[in-house]
Each structure stands twice: as C-alpha cells, then as structure tokens.
C-alpha cells in the first residue's frame, strides 16, 4: 500500500508540474496585462514600464525558467494587481473554498443516498418519478438564477438569512443550497441506478432467502456494493467546487478561489493564476488518490500493488 501511495504521489508531481507549465505558456498567449492594468488615458510608455517592472518584456523562456525556479520554492511571484505574494493570496482563500467543497459534498451525498435508496426500493412509483423530476430540475436550474431567487426569498422577503458575505455559519447556508442543488439531484440518480443493480443481484436474493433483515440487507450489503459509482461522482462534485464555485462565490461575495481565479484570468494576473492552478492541481491529485485508496479499502478485489 505504501509503495502504491508513494508511486502515485511521484507520478502526481509530474501531473501538477506539467499542468502548471501548460498554464504558464497558455496564459502568455492570452494577452498583455499591461494595458489592462493601466487607465485608458495612460501613455504607452507606462505600459512598457509596467512590463519592465514585472519582467514581462523578457523572452518567454527566460520567464519560464525564472518561474520554475520560484515554483520549486512555492514562490509564484507577486500578484500584478494586489502586489502581494500570489501563493499567500491563494492559501488565504483556500479555507473558504474548502468549506464550500466539503459542505456541498457532504450535504449532496446525504440527500442523494436518502432519496436514491428510497427511489430504488420503489422503482417506477410516484416517489421515484418525483425524484427523477426533482433531479432533472436540479441539474437544469442555472445557479445564478437560483442564487438570486434564494436571496429574494430568504433575505429580502423573510429576512432569515444574510444576502451574502462570509464570516458566520449563516452566511454559508444559501451558497450551500445553491451548490448542493444540482449535484444532489444527479447523485440521487446515480444512487438509484446503482442500488437497483445491486438489489436485483443474486447475492441479495440469497441473503433475502436466508432471512437477513431488510435494513441490514440494504445498509450492509447493497449500499457498500453500490458505493463505487457514488464515490466517483461524489469526488467529481468535490473537485468541481474545490476548483472554485465561480458563480456562487461571485453572487454571494464569498471570497474563495473561484472568484480569485476568474479575476486573475480577466486581469491577466499571471502569478495568481499560476498559483491557483498549482493549488487546485494538488487538490485534484490528492482527491483522486484518496478515492483510489477508498476503492481498495472497500473492495479487496482492487489490488493497489498490481496497478
């Protein structure tokens, strides 16, 4: 197991480095930050000076070597706009993004398992149809619209929750509802399908014949065996939010990585963009690693060492 983990981590380093270099090169192709940073009336000499101050007028290879040299020490340079180290900026925003990511994942999973299992136990029933309808609604509703509707109902009309911001648990409720809405519907469909497959499996018929209690049958036999696709989709949900829930963060004024990334792209703030991609890359790699370990732990047929 340890060998497997070390090997995966070793390969992951290459993935993160490759992605970071790719982003470095691609971002340079997207335009010049100098003209974006300066006011419309600024003379072009100011733009040239800006490039000079930030080393953007050097050959791209020189910039790349300089970047890699810094990246080894986790130094991605200073934000062109905020003038503070990009890595500090990203790490400062990371906890708030992870809050949403873990919260969304957990709530989605709980809702999906409850709804999905009930729907699987009563296939083609009214509840099953209702679940399907809700799931479709969940994945179809634009999060931007949903966010504004929720603010209107719960903040403006009822006054129960703050419209936006961060700092208390109340601030997290509306963003979590919006972020959970889509994934829980989709996950519920996955749980239902996976559970239906298990419930019709021969081993469960045998267990039933042996007189195993229904709850035990469900929780100890069917659900664990249905876990693989659920875990896969769950990890995708987690990664999706950890990458940055841009729309939700923007609407709710939630200062996470998503908003930071979008601003960095819009402003061509290369150091921040590179630091963000690096951190997100690590999150993705680690999530996948944890997922693989969970696969192996849940199902002994998965032999880590043989991969």
């Amino acid at each position: 197991m340890a060998t497997y983990v070390l090997r995966r981590l070793f390969y992951s380093i290459f993935v993160v480095v490759a992605v970071t270099i790719l982003v470095f090169l691609l971002s340079r192709l997207t335009g010049d930050p100098a003209l974006l940073y300066l006011p419309e009336t600024a003379p072009l000499e100011m733009a040239e000076r800006f490039r000079e101050m930030h080393g953007l007028n050097r050959p791209i290879l020189v910039q790349l070597v300089d970047f890699l040299n810094g990246a080894i020490h986790l130094d991605f340079g200073k934000s062109l706009w905020q003038k503070i180290p990009a890595s500090a900026l990203v790490l400062d925003r990371l906890p708030l993004t992870l809050t949403l990511a873990f919260g969304t994942t957990f709530v989605s999973l709980v809702i999906a398992i409850v709804i999905g299992v009930i729907a699987a136990l009563r296939p083609l029933s009214f509840f099953d149809s209702l679940t399907t309808a809700i799931s479709l609604f969940g994945v179809s509703v634009p999060s931007f619209w949903l966010a504004l509707v929720l603010i209107y109902i719960f903040s403006l009309r009822l006054g129960w929750l703050p419209t936006s911001g961060s700092g208390t648990w109340k601030h997290a409720i509306l963003p979590l509802i919006v972020l959970t809405w889509g994934p829980s519907g989709y996950l519920a469909r996955v749980v239902r399908t996976s559970m239906l497959e298990q419930l019709s499996a021969v081993y469960l018929t045998a267990a039933r014949a042996k007189g195993v209690a229904k709850v035990r049958l469900l929780l100890r036999h069917a659900l664990p065996n249905a876990a693989f696709p659920i875990m896969t989709v769950t990890s995708s949900t987690f990664i999706g939010v950890a990458n940055g829930a841009v729309i939700v963060e923007t609407v709710f004024g939630w200062p996470g990585i998503g908003k930071l990334t979008i601003d960095a792209i819009a402003n061509r703030d290369f150091p921040v963009l590179q630091a963000t991609v690096f951190v997100v890359g690590i999150i993705v790699v680690l999530t996948n690693l944890v997922l693989d370990l969970l696969y192996a732990a849940i199902d002994p047929r998965v032999r880590l060492g043989s991969r």
């Binding site: 003379p43 000076r49 200073k78 809050t99 403006l156 929750l161 703050p162 700092g167 609407v251």
Partner: protein, 541 residues
Amino acid sequence: MFKLYVCRSGIAWRTLLLLLSLVALVLQACASATPTQSPSQPAATEAPATEAPAKPTEPSPAESKKLVIVVGEEPPNLDPGEGTIIALNTYRNTYETLVGHDPATGALVPELALSWEQTNDTTWRFHLRQGVKFHDGEPFNAEAAAWVLNYLYDPDNNKHILGNVPAGTHATAVDENTLDVTTLDTYPALPATMFFANMASPKSIQADIDGAFRTMVGTGPYKFKEWVAGEKLVLERNPDYWGGQVSDIAEIEYVWRNESAVRSAMAETGEADIAVALDPQDTKTGNVVPVPISETPFIRMDLPNPPLSDIRIRRAICLLIDRQNIADKLYGGYAVPATQLIASNVVGYNPDIPLIPYDPEQAKVLIEQARADGVPVDNKITVYLRSTSDQTTLQMMLAILAATNEAGLNLNLELNEPAKHQAIARQLPVPPDRLAIFWGQHGNEMQDASFTIQAYYMPSGIHSTLSDATGQAFVDLYTEASRLSGPERQTALAEVMRFQADNVVATCPIVYIQYIYKLADGVQFQPRPDHLILAKDVKFP
C-alpha cells in the same frame, strides 16, 4: 459472532469504512462550517454583515454608528497612486488631496491646500493648511507634500496620475507651508490633477518596502483599522483630525459584491447603509438616489481610411444613434442624451453644441451623397467591443449596428477578450487597411476638457486617429486654448469642443449616464458627481 461475520463476509468492515469516510466528511464539513479565519483575519471579527444595523456596542449612542458601504469591486491595494473609481469610492475618508471638488458646481475647492496661484508660466504655488498631521503622527507640511507628489510623478513608480501630468513635473517645498509645482511647459490644468494626488504619509510609503499598500496612512477624518481581504475594509474615526469631528459615525466598513442585485438587496435589508452603482433594473424598490456623473458612453471612429475618412459618413453614423431611446429603454431613464464627451460640470463644456438628432433619413442622404462622390461606403467597418461588456452596452451597439446597416453602411461586430481589445484599440498609427469603430465610456473626473481633448482628439492623443495634416486647424485652436486659465479657458476650450463637433466628428457621444445609489431606510445621503462617498455627507435618523 460479529467477528466471525466480519471475517467471512468481508462486507461489514467495508460498510464500516464507508461510514467512517462519511463521518470524516461530516467532521470536515462541521469544522469548515465554523467561521474560517484567514491568516490576515484577527480572532475578534466584526459583526456579520446581517447584523450590521445592530452596530457594535460602544460607550454612547452617538459613538456607536457604523456606516456600511457596499461597492462593486474590492480595491486591489490601497496605493495612493491608484486613480480608479474604486479608489475614489474607497479612499477619500482616509486620504485627502490638496484640492477637492465642490459637489454642486464641480469647481476646485480648498482641501489640504488653502489656496493656489500660478506664479509664472511653469509654476503653480500651493499654500498649505497648517496644523495637519498624518495618522501616524507625522506632520503634513510642504516637505511631506512635495515628497509624495514627486513619488507619484516618478516614472519608475508608474502611478496612474502619470497619465494626467506632463513628464518632468516636479514639486518643491518653498517653506513649511508653501509648495511649488513646476512643469516644463505651461500647464494651467495642473491644479485639477491634484484631485488624484492622494496625500499618504511619506514615512508609511517608505516603510512599505514591498509596495504592497495593505494599509492607508493619510490625513483624513477616518483612519485605517483593518482589511480582511475579500471580506471588508474597516476605517475608524481619527480623533486628531484637523477638521474636528465631521460626523457621528464611528466606523466605516466597505464590503464588495459584484452583483448589482445583491448590492441592492443589502441596502433593502439594512445589511448595508449605502449600495453603490446599481443597474437600472434594481431600482424598482427601496430608497434610490441617482446622481449625474462625468461618464459618457460614446463611439470613436478611425479617421484615416475610407469611408470613415469622409466626414459625411461619420456624421451619418452619429445621426443613426437613437439617444433618447437608449436613455429611456436601456438605461431605464437614468441617462440623458449627450451632446459632447464631457458633462456640464467640466471646464470646456459647450452648452451651444446641439444635440445630434436621430435622423435616419438625413443619414441616408449623407451616405448616398458620399457614394455618388465615389466614396466606398460598402467597405466593411468593424465595431470592436470587449467580450466582457455588459448587456446594456451590447444592446446599444447592436441597435446602432442595425440602424447603420439599414441606412446602407456595412458594420460588423467583433467581440474580443479585454486584453486583445485593448491591444487593438491602442494600436497607433492606424494600419492601412483598418476601418474600426470602438465603443468607450469616458469619465473626466478632473473636470477639465483638456484631458478629453488630448486623449481623444489631438493627433498626439492615445485614442486619437486624427492626423496632423487634417487636424492642423484643430491643433492650433487647442494649443492656444490649453495655455489659458480662468474664464478665458472655459470659453476657449468650449470653442475647441464646438470645432470638433462641427468639423472633426471623431466621436459620437451617446448619453450622459447617472450613477445609481440605494440607501437603507432612514439613511440620508446626497451622492456626488465625483464618486466620493464621504462620511460627513451621510446622516442617520
């Protein structure tokens, strides 16, 4: 028995692991649901935004007032050299300037300078207010002011103000309270540029080795308290302010929300006292207060190549803009048709320039006349727009495009990423085959037409495609006007604006827009045209 079951089936321990992973997720979620503190966040944070109206407990009711202002964007830093609207919204309770604006007339008024005069062609003398101290206790005097100005004027520091002052501008302390600012050539507009020269403590700038500007040390009635990046910027009353207590507001808190609808909701729920820059669709409810500002959407046209090189075509395009309809429908009535790029509070505004009517028939006549004279009116003209433009701008340009194409021209829209758009828009000289129209929004916060004329009309202007050959009369007229000051300057610059409207037509002004504010219940505030939100202007019930 249980152990036996586990060993045989291998299922229970898998379930256990699954449950454990779920529990781990629960724990992580619970842990992260508690208020997360970034490294820069102090342990004792302010009341959450929802509790803003409750205000923190302080000794007396008068001391307890906190003003919460929600603006669209967080400033990237607190650099006194920033010249953006965000900076104007955020800085001016802390940083002060030598001159300010009379909010009603736009005229320059004393702030840290009590008076100023031109002592010779190239020198302006400022007489500074005495007894002023920076928030760090350092004295504000001519030496400090000169240091700050020279810091802002230093090309190596690349501050925004460099776009508004001529190269070689230099400040010198004459005595404790007298400051001279010299330019290489006559520059009557210099006092106007002082509006953007924020007076920060030289000591604080020198101490900020990295130039990160995460704090503000000015002379204003409120001093920096804390900045929780992404969340809020808090100022507290400066008890040693030279002007005494200007307001009973004890603290000012700035928060940032990109969405106009959210800012609007915050004012209505009382989470914020003042919501800034709302979209017209968010004005149906609540206490809405609009204010005219010096911001004018317009289009500018490439002048060198046909058919745009023909003034009849440019006039025709201007005639095809239905300004009243744009003001009413797209800006929801929070705009009025514009006659020129500058608003009436700007020195050089010409009230005699007539409004260009929406007249498609006259436009068609002009286009046909040009066609008859051999002007290639069918040449493709590209209208460049940022891909990030808002819906109002996009709809405005689509309406203009439809009208011009209907009238017989060949306009096409091209949306580009902001960086690429800027690269195209700033490309000078105009490439031989380019036929371009750019949308822009011009603000003249310094309230002097020379800044507009230099940038958009003079051949040397960064957004001007007027050539020396075709624009010599214009250049001569402006050069003469730019050397004047006082009432003569107003008259002469107004003539330049008229000449442009009649004989150059490099731009088509569209509307004068209004900035829309929304106030929480009971809050009284009259917004200013120059974007400043000063605590002294805010009254609570």
